[in-house]
């Protein structure tokens, strides 16, 4: 990473800490914001946040690695989380899963090479009456069929837009 990029990130992290406070209770909200903005929480970010909060970086690392929605590894712009719990399983999640893998050409737990999509399993997302259900970022899709998978992915592609390519910087982080 270029020095200037590090400085920029440092400045942004400082602003986040200022907004949430340096109290330990602010750690998770800070990390949630970092995750949202950079799609990953890098070693550098963890170290910087630890310094700003006056705690050991291992404390930050232990929190990041505990929660499913906080990640060290880069996650795509669109995170697809398909519910794997029993009611969605009975409603036919397996076919939807297969189609997602086919259409994205990745397996669960992976991110597409263009950095757009990450495919993950979710445990019960509270849509058991309308399964199979999945989340795309914060949005919920219910009664998903293999056929609908294509439309949903296409809508994401459209929302992504041709000109808003992932910046170099975000990839590095």
């Amino acid at each position: 990473m270029l020095m200037t990029q590090q400085d920029k990130l440092m400045g942004e992290l400082k602003a986040l800490v200022e907004q949430h406070g340096t109290h330990r209770n602010a750690l998770i909200p800070i990390l949630q914001d970092v995750q949202k903005r950079y799609h990953a929480i890098s070693d550098f970010a963890m170290q910087t946040i630890a310094d700003l909060l006056g705690i050991h970086p291992v404390e930050v690392y232990s929190v990041v690695t505990f929660y499913a929605f906080l990640n060290e590894k880069y996650h795509g712009k669109f995170i697809i989380r398909l519910c794997r719990t029993i009611s969605c399983e009975m409603a036919g999640k397996a076919a939807v899963a297969r189609q997602l893998e086919n259409d994205l050409d990745i397996k669960f737990g992976e991110t597409t090479s263009d950095g757009r999509f990450t495919l993950e399993w979710a445990n019960c997302i509270g849509m058991c009456d309308q399964g199979p259900a999945m989340l795309v970022n914060d949005q919920v899709f219910t009664k998903v069929t293999p056929e609908k998978v294509h439309d949903i992915l296409e809508a994401c592609e459209k929302a992504f837009g041709p000109h808003t390519m992932q910046t170099e910087e975000e990839h590095v982080l």
Partner: protein, 397 residues
């Protein structure tokens, strides 16, 4: 994204009536009303709400907190999502009443990250309440009663629904459950007295203040008073959110939701019990089959071993890993299921696994490990013939 519902009493609530009635009473009397209703917590464990509030009211602390547990992660549960979508004000009102009763100035809704799409709506509701003087300082002209509520987002961890893990998460820690005692009513968030209640509990509390404890007690059974919301999914004609009086039998419930011909019903989610058809006359209540509201129905064709496998995969993934019986036990049970699937499990080993399950129930630190073997044990007990001696087939995932 519409959820099927039957007639739900929350629709008849008069806005603000509960809070108004509460503020006309002294703090102790508000708690008295909740105690009188004999309501037990709607989140699953069924602790009497009035007793909890009374303990927090009596506890010493500079600050006190009211926490709404909206982490709803139990497989098969979605009634809190429905309540927050349709009747958020009733929940916020219940929290405000609790704040008044125990002497807290701060309320927190711990909302699971999976429900982020509800945030805007909830923030709007909070803002409207502030503007209407239902949150903030000297609420409804009551001198010295200051209370406000904010949202805190969860991060994708089922265990954070356990109240002490939830508090750890609020404090910026890993969501690892604490030893109890001390209980949160004494030593909760930031070491201060804290009440943690389920979404539905707060909504009913609000209605109990408005309509009186006798109304609530008049519904349900002696040991499980009041109506309850159920999340019904699986092999039924009309999956959705249903209100029924506590004490309804499994058979009656199935009749109402179009679940004829079911071979088994999982009551209480993955951590609950699997009830076979021959026991459908049992009552859904704390004194018989208890539940936080999750009802998953299995039709005659379902493979119960797959059901057990799905639940154990869930627990293996969601165990916080802090204590051995749960961390290793769930893995061993899951391995056992895989052995059963390929027809490689001796009766002797199955008996060993059942003993391990019983050990987990006794020796695990928190409710997750204590209840994770329930489904496995009840399925082994009721469907043994279906599980044993399977031909070795290729398992296609």
């Amino acid at each position: 994204m519409t959820t099927i519902m039957n007639d739900i009493t929350f629709s008849t609530a008069e806005a603000g009536a509960g809070l108004k009635a509460a503020l006309e009473k002294g703090r102790a009397d508000v708690i008295g009303v909740v105690r009188e209703s004999a309501m037990r917590g709607r989140g699953g464990a069924g602790f009497p709400t009035g007793v909890k509030w009374n303990l927090a009211a009596g506890a010493q602390g500079d600050k006190k907190y009211v926490v709404c547990n909206a982490d709803e992660g139990e497989p098969g549960t979605f009634k809190d999502r429905a309540i927050l979508s349709e009747w958020a004000d009733l929940v916020l009102e219940g929290m405000t009443i609790a704040g008044y009763a125990v002497g807290a100035a701060e309320g927190i809704v711990y909302l699971r990250g999976e429900y982020t799409y509800l945030v805007r709506q909830l923030e709007d509701a909070l803002e409207k309440r502030r503007e209407a003087g239902l949150l903030g300082e000297n609420i409804q002209g009551k001198d010295g009663f200051n209370f406000d509520i904010h949202l805190h987002m969860g991060c994708g961890a089922y265990i954070c629904g356990e109240e002490t893990a939830l508090i750890e998460a609020l404090e910026g820690q890993r969501g690892e459950p604490r030893n109890r005692p001390p209980f949160p009513v004494n030593t909760g968030l930031n070491g201060c007295p804290t009440i943690v209640n389920n979404v539905e509990t707060f909504a009913w509390a609000s209605m109990i203040l408005a309509k009186g404890p006798e109304w609530f007690k008049g519904i349900g059974t002696e040991k499980s008073s009041g109506p309850k919301l159920f999340s019904v999914s699986g092999d039924v004609d009309k999956p959705g959110v249903y209100e029924f009086p506590m004490g309804i039998t499994v058979a009656e419930l199935l009749k109402n939701v179009g679940g004829g011909g079911a071979k088994a019903v999982q009551i209480g989610g993955a951590s609950g019990n699997c009830i076979p058809a021959c026991e459908f006359s049992r009552a859904i209540a704390f004194e018989d089959v208890s539940t936080g509201g999750s009802i998953i129905v299995f039709g005659p064709e379902r493979d119960m071993l797959k059901v057990a496998e799905n639940f154990l995969e869930f627990f293996e993934d969601e165990s916080c890993g802090q204590c051995t019986p749960c961390r290793i036990g769930n893995t061993r049970l899951l391995e056992g299921i895989r052995m059963l699937q390929t027809g490689h499990c001796s009766m002797k080993y199955l008996q060993e696994l059942c003993k391990l399950g019983e050990t987990m129930q006794l020796a695990s630190k928190c409710g997750l490990g204590q209840s994770s073997p329930n489904a496995f044990l009840s399925i082994v007990k009721h469907f043994r013939n279906e599980l044993m001696g399977r031909a070795c087939v290729m398992v296609c995932k």
